[in-house]
């Protein structure tokens, strides 16, 4: 069956863009949840790379996709921990704004 080949470069570019978006979000968003989501974007950028390479890489193989699966799982755990911490913070500080987390400094 025929499929429309998408050049590897553009896929990598997609990954890169996704990574940058994620980074941007992580650096700028006030709300802790959004920040966490943005971090997930960064991880997914990596996943896209892995998958792309596992299919269109120099010497393709399944490792990449396996790696991606692991990553997704880890990311889920990460989010879980993140939310837990968010709850803890919210309980003590009554806020989910990252900028208010500035007690420990200097």
């Amino acid at each position: 069956m025929a499929y429309f080949p998408i050049p590897t470069g553009s896929l990598l570019a997609l990954g890169a863009i996704l990574f940058c978006i994620g980074l941007y979000g992580a650096l700028t968003k006030r709300n802790l949840i959004i920040v966490l989501v943005s971090v997930e974007l960064m991880l997914n950028a990596a996943n896209i790379n892995l998958v792309v390479f596992s299919r269109l890489g120099l010497n393709p193989g399944l490792n990449g996709q396996v790696f991606a699966l692991f990553t997704i799982t880890v990311a889920a755990a990460e989010i879980a921990v993140g939310l837990a911490l968010l709850l803890a913070v919210f309980r003590l500080r009554k806020t989910s704004d990252v900028n208010d987390l500035n007690e420990n400094k200097n």
């Binding site: 980074l23 992580a26 650096l27 700028t28 920040v35 990252v98 987390l101 500035n102 400094k105 200097n106």
Partner: protein, 635 residues
């Protein structure tokens, strides 16, 4: 006997150590007694040594190993030559008398034992200096006598003038000593040894060099450096300024150190190093000229001083100038001869002045007067000294000074001779000015005059002995005993005679005698029975500028102060300023800078996690970009 010459310095040293152990609590009798006995003993030993030396000529050096320098080895010890045999004789004699005299003069001083410690240390150092077989050892004791002089000048340390004078004397002589040290070092490298014999052998040959200077220049350079030391120690122009100030010390000190012995060490040095000087006409000429200038300058200054001790001090400077000139024009024997006679009559003058000061408790000539009736013995002995100094036949000074004058003329230095003659006239004048002001006329301050009285026998006995010496010492080298001293000195020198000697020249003798009498007459006219027209004040007014010039010591102190002390302090201040406000400030600035940077970094920790991650992200970005550039960009 000569082998025991080491006893000569060691006896006073023993006395010093003994007193040092006893400490400040030692009773006056013990302190004085021990010292006098010891130095008397060392006088007797030196007499024996002198006789032995006279018979068997130079002995030694007796050496022990002192220090190894690489392959070279430096030894210490002592040697006896005819010259230093004579020196130890004179030194130990005068020392004995002065030590005796001090027992009376310093009686009741709270630091009496300390005074005797210092004196003994000095006597030891002086004798050891004279007996040294090499230049390094000489330099060591050269500094030691300087130290003793410093301590004794500053003996009454609580008087600011005394403290200043002590400092000044040490530092001014130190300038000369540094020259001497350099000279010794250069001689060492040039000749490979410190020993006189080796050095002079090399100097005589003249075939030596240091790479950067050689032959004649080297000889002259070394001779001049050595002479610089002598200039400092013997208070020759231009380094004479310390000696008059040194009169702040107790008078016996002035008599012993600053008249008879230490200041003569410079002359001794030049005499001991005579072969070196002979090898360099330039150096000899310098010595002669410096001597003459000093003699005249000091004599002129002495004319107007009001302080009895200062007058005598300047006369000392002037007489030392005579000796230097004698050596400079080549009259080795006469220089030494004058050194000897001068030692006696100048010590005498100081001790006599001391007993005057002791009696009236002032040093200002114009507060004395008429003391003949109170202190007849002092007056007579002083007169003997004065006549000797003025050079009136038959007193000691006449023979020696006359020899020098003759030598100056006969060796073809008419100018120097003229200067000396003028100096001789001044000498006669100023010393009799002192005599008349002190002993004749009416007491200017009756209450002082009332209390005046002779000292005890310990003070008068030395006066008598020295007066006797001042009277007869001249005959040692007079035609009457066939110029015995010359023969003694030259008995065993290779060419049988060092430098110039001449038979007495009667017209010259008469001339110098006449000059002396003129001076005395003038002094008498002005200060003894002055007619209205000739009172001292009128003279002073008449000679206005010259009077002030002489009274102000030709402003040399002021000039030096401005030239050396101010500049030195200025440099010091600048250096200190640089140290504080440039170097250290720079350091502090750097420190502050670093610290403030770190404070800045500290406050960059705002607590804003997104700020943190931004920094981190930028870090990644920079790293990636730089890496890509370095790796040649992405294709």
């Amino acid at each position: 006997m000569v082998a025991y010459a080491w006893l000569v310095p060691l006896l006073p040293l023993a006395a010093y150590v003994f007193l040092l152990v006893l400490g400040r609590r030692a009773p006056e009798g013990v302190a004085a007694g021990v010292s006098v006995v010891c130095s008397l003993a060392s006088f007797l030993v030196s007499a024996a040594v002198f006789r032995a030396a006279a018979s068997q000529g130079p002995v030694g050096p007796y050496l022990f190993h002192w220090l190894t320098l690489g392959s070279a080895s430096i030894s210490f010890g002592f040697e006896v030559t005819r010259l230093n045999a004579l020196m130890i004789l004179v030194v130990s004699l005068v020392s004995t008398l002065v030590l005796l005299y001090s027992a009376g003069y310093m009686h009741g001083d709270e630091r009496f034992p300390v005074f005797y410690q210092y004196l003994n240390l000095f006597v030891f150092s002086m004798l050891a200096l004279v007996l040294s077989p090499n230049l390094l050892q000489l330099y060591i004791f050269w500094e030691m006598v300087g130290l003793c002089s410093y301590l004794l000048v500053g003996f009454w340390y609580f008087k600011p003038e005394a403290a200043l004078a002590a400092k000044k004397s040490f530092i001014v002589t130190r300038i000369g000593d540094t020259g001497l040290l350099i000279g010794i070092v250069l001689l060492y490298w040039a000749s490979g040894s410190f020993d006189y014999s080796t050095v002079f052998a090399a100097a005589g040959a003249g075939q030596w060099s240091l790479g950067w200077v050689s032959g004649q220049e080297l000889t002259t350079l070394c001779a001049l450096l050595v002479f610089l030391g002598a200039v400092g120690k013997s208070a020759q122009f231009p380094l004479h300024v310390w000696l008059p100030d040194a009169m702040e010390g107790p008078t016996p000190v002035s008599a012993l150190i600053h008249a008879a012995t230490m200041v003569a060490a410079g002359v001794y040095l030049v005499a001991r190093c005579y072969p070196l000087f002979q090898a360099s006409p330039g150096a000899l000429a310098t010595v002669a000229w410096i001597g003459a200038i000093t003699a005249l300058l000091a004599a002129l200054i002495a004319l107007t001083q009001r302080d009895i001790k200062r007058v005598i001090a300047y006369s000392t400077v002037s007489q030392l100038g005579y000796m230097m000139l004698a050596l400079g024009v080549g009259a080795y024997a006469y220089g030494v001869f004058h050194l000897m006679t001068h030692a006696f009559f100048k010590a005498l003058l100081f001790l006599a002045a001391g007993s005057v000061i002791h009696a009236v408790d002032t040093q200002d000539l114009f507060e004395m007067g008429g003391l003949y009736r109170k202190l007849p013995l002092t007056a007579w002995t002083f007169l003997a000294g004065a006549l000797a100094l003025a050079g009136v036949v038959p007193f000691a000074g006449f023979w020696s000074k006359d020899d020098i004058l003759a030598a100056a003329l006969n060796t073809g230095h008419p100018v120097l001779w003229g200067m000396l003659l003028l100096a001789a006239f001044c000498t006669a004048f100023y010393i009799f000015r002192v005599y008349f002001l002190v002993f004749t006329g009416a007491p200017r301050q009756p209450e002082r005059w009332q209390h005046a009285h002779e000292g005890s026998w310990v003070m008068t006995l030395p006066l008598l002995v020295l007066a006797a010496m001042a009277t007869i010492a001249g005959f040692f080298n007079s035609p009457l005993n066939g110029d015995g001293l010359e023969h003694f000195l030259f008995a065993d020198s290779p060419q049988h005679q060092i430098g110039y000697t001449a038979p007495e020249n009667v017209p010259l003798m008469l001339l110098s005698l006449l000059v002396a009498l003129l001076g005395i007459g003038l002094a008498a006219a002005v200060y003894w029975r002055p007619r209205q027209s000739q009172r001292p004040e009128r003279w002073a007014r008449a000679w206005g500028p010259f009077y002030t010039l002489s009274y102000r010591k030709f402003y040399l102190d002021e000039v030096y102060y401005a030239a050396l002390v101010y500049t030195g302090k200025g440099i010091a201040a600048v250096v200190d300023w640089i140290d504080r406000y440039v170097i250290d400030a720079l350091v502090r600035v750097v420190g502050r800078l670093v610290y403030s940077v770190s404070v800045l970094l500290k406050f960059s920790q705002t607590g804003q996690v997104q700020a943190y991650s931004t920094v981190a992200a930028l870090g990644v970005l920079v790293l990636v970009a730089w890496a890509m550039l370095r790796a040649g960009g992405v294709h």
